[in-house]
Amino acid sequence: MAGKKQVARKGSWLVDGVLILLILLWTIPTLGIFISSFRTAYDIQTSGWWTIFPHREWQVTEEIPIPKELDKNGVMTIAGATGAFKEFRAGIETPDGRRVIWIGNKRLGKIQIQERVWTMRTDFTLQNYQEVLAGKEYEIKQPDGSVKVEQGADLSNAFLNSLIVAIPATVIPILIAAFAAYGFAWMRFPGRRVLFIMIVAMLVVPLQIALVPILRDYTRLNLNGTYLAVWLAHTGFGLPLATYLLFNYINSLPRDILESAFIDGASHFTIFVRLILPLSIPALASFAIFQFLWVWNDYLVALIFIGAKPDVQVLTMRIAEMVGSRGNDWHLLTAGAFVSMILPLMVFFALQRYFVRGLLAGSVKG
């Protein structure tokens, strides 16, 4: 009975309608840069990305020179439209649905006759991606018709850097945290409680607190701008959460597994590697996805510890830099942003369940 009622309540058109509206609201901004990244630089500069969908637009049907004998300062009649120069500049619509518009200045202009037609702009290209990934020079058509040669952005290098940073910065903390979680859960030693309380206390500490002292240490060790520096930083900032989560999981595994393994003469190390790690895969995967996305999407830590080294810079840094230096080159920015989002989005859609679990557990991170 209850099930039937539930089905009956589902599918109210009002609920569905509001929900669809909200979904659109949430997806359209992303759709905008996704579509724009495949449009030519010229198209992006001269029309909104939504013009790829069918819409009505004024199109030129005829171009005529300005009649010589016209009184340009008075009221003129051209091609069935009557008005002063200013009105012609803005365009005059005739009763039969055409528009007469004056292009250019008073002396050297021309007259266009336009008609409103259904159209869509479907001039798609992969050039933006080529330009953004390889750092070569490219010719770009400008809105005023001229051609500009511009330097592409070498994001493939930054993509590789992001991978080099993110993979170890995910695996290293997991490995260290898994050992620690096992130690805290299944070993007894003096200081166990105090040390674990320290880890719990560090869960929400904002990482801003650590940036400067660590930067000073790195300067002393000559580590700034190395991958190792960033790995260790992400390891340090990710470890409290990793240890806490994995502890909760490993601690909840049934005790008799451990005891029977001990009776068989296995050492802690063997039990950990052969038994606990395989059993903990769901927890490890959840945290791995959370940490990978966190590191991949991180900007602040990379900014501080990589800083001025261009050949080590990760994607987020390069994109942020491009926004500053080439803020109006939307063909580059949209493609670049999408390059930086493609991997996390793939992880998201492929591993959504683990992703949600990891994110829920990891939401407290400092």
Binding site: W26, Q45, M198, I319
Partner: protein, 373 residues
């Protein structure tokens, strides 16, 4: 006599083999760590100074980073296991927990103290100034602006994320499109704040009124007969709200997923009983659902408040802190890394730390009450 010779021979042989195995053990115990160290050090030097192609460096870096840590654990554990039994029992736990504890101590616990000490000194740490930096934090004009903006982020960001999250969770629970809705609303959580800023900068883009608008918001405004505006440079401090939209866009999915789980946890009988008693859906929402998931609402709100308090990437990418959009975390960065005012920068970081202390205490209390230890 006849029996003692083989005995002596036997004990000699035993002594010899004991010596042999232990010398080998000792040698191994020395050689293995030395080899480990040399391999790791060579890897480090290669990574720091090499001019090799990027892909080779990438492979070496990943193998070295991941393999190196695994190797260190393996080798130290192996070393400890060579020791007599009682030693193993006492030392092995520290092999397991030692690295984690040491790294957390070096990267978070100790820096908190070091940053606090730096915050008591002047801009280049040469002179002790007491609480002067803290007085500056709460009186300087640019800091007051940063606090005001951060308050806007916290209040509007958290309120709208929670409200939208709750609304979508409730609607999705009753809709055929539940899975679809959740996926798409949640998707921005996979996107970096830098990427999200590019997405929204494009939405807010503004062109000359004579040209066609390429930013969605201005295109809508023009289509409705308005004038295009530069939204993020607009009337201060309300331009901050256009940046806060990005946070709401990012965090609503998070709130929604947690609320959705909480709503599904409400006993069906409770809702049915209310309906039988004649309550309408609105009443059920406010009188039953909200009180039932209040704990979850508080947790989610706290999480988003902390997130909003440390917002940095969005402001840097969208405005660089111009047009009166500076927040606490960007001021921290500016004082520290642009103005090189270490004292003031540290004081700001400490203020951030103090702001999360209630949450820290709550976590510790939770932990104690769970009696996991």
């Amino acid at each position: 006599m006849t029996s003692s010779a083989p005995g002596a021979m036997g004990s000699l042989r035993r002594l010899w083999s004991w010596l042999l195995t232990n010398t080998l053990r000792l040698l191994l115990a020395v050689i293995v760590p030395v080899i480990t160290f040399v391999v790791l050090w060579q890897g480090f030097i290669f990574l720091r100074d090499s001019q090799a192609p990027k892909t080779i460096i990438a492979v070496v870096a990943i193998a070295w980073g991941v393999g190196g840590v695994a190797m260190l654990f393996f080798v130290t554990n192996w070393l400890v296991e060579q020791l007599p039994g009682s030693w193993v029992r006492h030392l092995q736990p520290y092999i397991f927990i030692g690295p984690a504890v040491a790294i957390i101590f070096w990267y978070l616990a100790l820096p908190a103290i070091r940053t606090f000490i730096i915050s008591l000194y002047n801009y280049n740490s040469s002179e002790f100034v007491g609480v002067q930096n803290y007085i500056d934090v709460f009186t300087e004009r640019f800091m007051l602006e940063a606090f005001r903006n951060t308050m806007l982020w916290i209040i509007f960001g958290a309120a709208f994320s929670v409200a939208f999250g709750l609304l979508i969770a409730v609607l999705a629970d009753r809709s055929r499109f539940e899975k679809l809705a959740k996926s798409f609303i949640f998707m921005p959580m996979a996107i970096s704040m830098v990427g999200a800023s590019v997405i929204w900068k494009f939405v807010y883009a503004v062109r000359d009124p004579a040209d066609p608008q390429i930013g969605l918001l201005n295109a809508i405004v023009v289509a409705l007969g308005g004038e295009p505006k530069a939204w993020i440079q607009l009337v201060q401090p309300w331009n901050n709200l256009f940046l806060i939209v990005i946070l709401i866009w990012l965090q609503t999915g998070f709130a929604m997923v947690i609320f959705s789980a909480a709503i599904k946890g409400i006993p069906q009988e409770l809702l049915e009983a209310a309906r039988v008693d004649g309550a309408n859906e609105i009443q059920i929402f406010f009188k039953i659902m909200i009180p039932y998931i209040m704990g979850t609402i508080i947790t989610v709100t706290t999480t988003i408040v902390i997130f909003a308090m440390k917002i940095f990437d969005i402001v840097i990418v969208m405005t660089g802190g111009q047009f009166g959009t500076e927040v606490i975390a960007t001021q921290f960065y500016r004082q520290y890394f642009t103005n090189r005012n270490f004292g003031l920068g540290s004081a700001i970081a400490i203020v951030l730390l103090i702001a999360v202390i209630p949450v820290m205490i709550y976590n510790l209390k939770q932990f104690r009450s769970e009696e996991a230890f």
